[in-house]
């Protein structure tokens, strides 16, 4: 099985992100890592690919984003594709999806595209669907388990109440949740070998995309801090508590 995994390099997930004057996350000159969410899709891909499959990691981002590919390769991925182009600075979801879809199209004979549910820095959670749409492929989201049997994809799709069992033909685009697996740590050998693995660096024109294709149509006008959560209400009297809780839940239309 040939699997393409869309991965993102994000500013240090444990640090405090810095915003630039353009109201966008500062991505250059800051320490970063493979998005922890993407580690789960890489892990899922490695498990599905088994010993005879191939896992291709694809990223779009500044120079440093190659770190995301390196990490995935040291976990066991087979090759990496890095789309690096100054004109992509400030790309919005649609532009990113166009670029990634164009890369996926170039991967001859791919069976499956995996991605995280949402990035840990942007949180839009819309990119994989846009890629699926552009590729005209079926899209299954929130997979907590992915299997392929007889050429059919079987997914347990996480829902609020439990999970749905979903089947779909290949190729497809699937988003993988953090509950799907425990990502492996890179091995010493993997780290050493990652440097020898094939890595393609492509520009927008290499992908056959025009300046118009990569022009962001979304503009960030300003930034507002999220309103602080109001302190909760503490009910101390055990007599009064059950009634008040029921009242609260009824009001919130939970019960």
């Amino acid at each position: 099985m040939n699997i393409v995994v869309l991965v993102k390099y994000i500013p240090n997930p444990e640090g405090t992100p810095e915003m630039g004057p353009d109201h966008r996350l500062k991505r250059e000159g800051v320490e970063g890592a493979l998005d922890p969410g993407d580690e789960h899709s890489v892990e899922a891909a490695l498990q599905l690919a088994g010993s005879d499959g191939e896992v291709t990691l694809v990223t779009m981002g500044p120079e440093a984003a190659v770190g995301a590919l390196r990490r995935g390769l040291s976990m066991g991925g087979h090759k990496g594709v890095h789309v690096l182009d100054d004109s992509l600075k400030g790309a919005d979801v649609l532009v990113t999806a166009r670029v990634l879809a164009a890369v996926v199209k170039r991967q001859a004979g791919f069976d499956l595209v995996l991605a995280g549910v949402e990035s840990t820095d942007g949180y839009t959670g819309t990119l994989p669907m846009a890629v699926a749409e552009l590729l005209d492929l079926p899209n299954v989201t929130f997979a907590r388990k992915v299997e392929v049997a007889d050429g059919t994809l079987k997914v347990e799709r996480q829902t609020e109440a439990g999970y749905d069992e979903v089947e779909c033909p290949l190729p497809a685009v699937v988003t993988v949740t953090a509950g799907a697996n425990e990502p492996r740590y890179p091995t010493l050998k993997g780290i050493m070998q990652a440097k020898q693995k094939p890595m393609d660096t492509l520009s927008v024109s290499d992908l056959g995309l025009s300046a118009e294709d990569v022009k962001a149509t979304q503009e960030v006008m300003g930034l507002e801090p999220v309103a602080a959560k109001e302190a909760g209400e503490v009910i101390e009297d055990p007599e009064e508590a059950p009634g008040r809780v029921v009242e609260f839940l009824t009001k919130a239309k939970v019960i």
Partner: protein, 382 residues
């Protein structure tokens, strides 16, 4: 300050992966294992899966074929998050190194792949109840059978880390007359008839590093399991200790770093006389000394690691690194308790454990008096 200055890109990347594993998996599990007095066998196995149980050994035998320095830096990193786990790795390494350097091909092919993968755990058995620093006076006997096909081991080994837990034991026993030249080294497996263990030793610290006595009562060991030649055992034991001492130096540095980090964090948070105690010069000077000593210990063990990798004679320098780093660990952990005041004496904070752990580092793999003796003898003889 770049703690990893001078390391290659490969070494930095390996350390980054280890750091992540230690932060996410090892460090959070440490207090639990220490409390239960249980060997972190599953974590050791995971280190093996990451390719870290045989870093400097030949790829032919399942090792990673990487510099010894890489192994040392990994040890330091693990020690800073879960000291006993680093110790496990270090003793495992000590037990395999004699075989790797002196063993026959067939013996290496039989045991090293299992040790390098972390599937098997190793132990190193030199000390006895009546022979510690004077290890060459050991009394465990290994008598060759009439047809020369096997040896019969009788006697006991005291203070053996991983005793009862390990599958593989490198055991030094006497095949000849008195003194170092009468000693030979053997590979012995757990489960062999006539090989048993004493009760779990109760120690001051290193609780997640179980220790038992080894008891040999006519244990039959095939002659193939002799490592090197008869009479070469003491040389093998000491060669292992040269590398082992560097390992102890790296573990000491990691432990000292953990204590120091805890002390700085506490000193920033704790306020007295209306300000954080870290603002008092008396405390700052203490922390400054701690930081300086740790950095010196790190530079020393790493430089000696490089000397070893370059094929130089590093025996005396390894003693210096072990001596300096373990004394540093003792001083730094003691001062870390001091920085914490009364809280430092409480089990609620980790520094009292660090202090107990540091003490044994001045004793194992040659007490620090013995290290000074090794260094001093060279001075006298040259």
């Amino acid at each position: 300050m770049d703690r990893d200055f001078g390391l290659t890109e490969d070494q930095r990347e390996i350390l980054a992966a280890v750091r992540e594993f230690v932060r996410e998996k090892a460090a959070p599990a440490a207090p639990g294992y220490e409390e239960k007095h249980e060997l972190p066998r599953d974590l050791f196995r995971r280190l093996g899966e990451m390719g870290l149980a045989g870093i400097p050994y030949d790829e032919r035998y399942g090792g990673a074929g990487q510099p010894f320095l890489t192994y040392l830096t990994v040890l330091e990193e693990v020690a800073s998050g879960f000291f006993s786990l680093a110790l496990t790795l270090s003793v495992h390494h000590l037990s395999a190194s004699g075989l790797h350097r002196f063993g026959s091909d067939s013996l290496k092919e039989k045991y090293l792949p299992r040790l390098c993968s972390g599937e098997w755990l190793g132990a190193y058995a030199l000390s006895e109840a009546s022979s510690g620093s004077d290890a060459a006076s050991l009394r465990t006997r290994a008598d060759r059978s009439g047809d020369g096909s096997s040896y019969r081991l009788t006697g006991s080994k005291r203070f053996i880390t991983h005793g009862g837990e390990a599958e593989y034991y490198l055991v030094m026993a006497r095949t000849g007359g008195e003194g170092p030249s009468g000693i030979s080294a053997f590979v012995i497996e757990r489960g062999w008839e006539g090989f048993d263990f004493g009760k779990l030793e109760e120690k001051m610290g290193w609780h997640a590093s179980p220790m038992r006595e080894l008891l040999f009562e006519g244990c039959q060991v095939p002659a193939e399991n002799l490592v090197g030649d008869e009479g070469e055992g003491f040389t093998i034991a000491l060669a292992g200790l040269d590398s082992g001492r560097l390992g102890i130096a790296a573990c000491s540095t990691g432990l000292a770093q953990a204590a120091f980090d805890a002390a700085v964090a506490f000193a920033r948070e704790r306020s007295q006389f209306g300000k954080p105690i870290i603002e008092f010069q008396g405390l700052q000077f203490m922390l400054a000394d701690m930081a300086t000593q740790i950095e010196a210990a790190r530079r020393l063990y790493r430089e000696v690691g490089r000397l070893r990798d370059a094929g130089g004679d590093y025996s005396q320098a390894a003693s210096m690194a072990k001596l300096f780093a373990s004394d540093t660990a003792m001083r730094v952990t003691t001062d870390a308790v001091q920085v914490h005041g009364g809280y430092g004496y409480m089990q609620e904070y980790p520094v009292e454990r660090y202090m107990r752990e540091a003490k044994a580092l001045q004793i194992v793999e040659g007490t620090n008096q013995i290290q000074r003796m090794v260094i001093g003898r060279r001075l006298a003889s040259s």
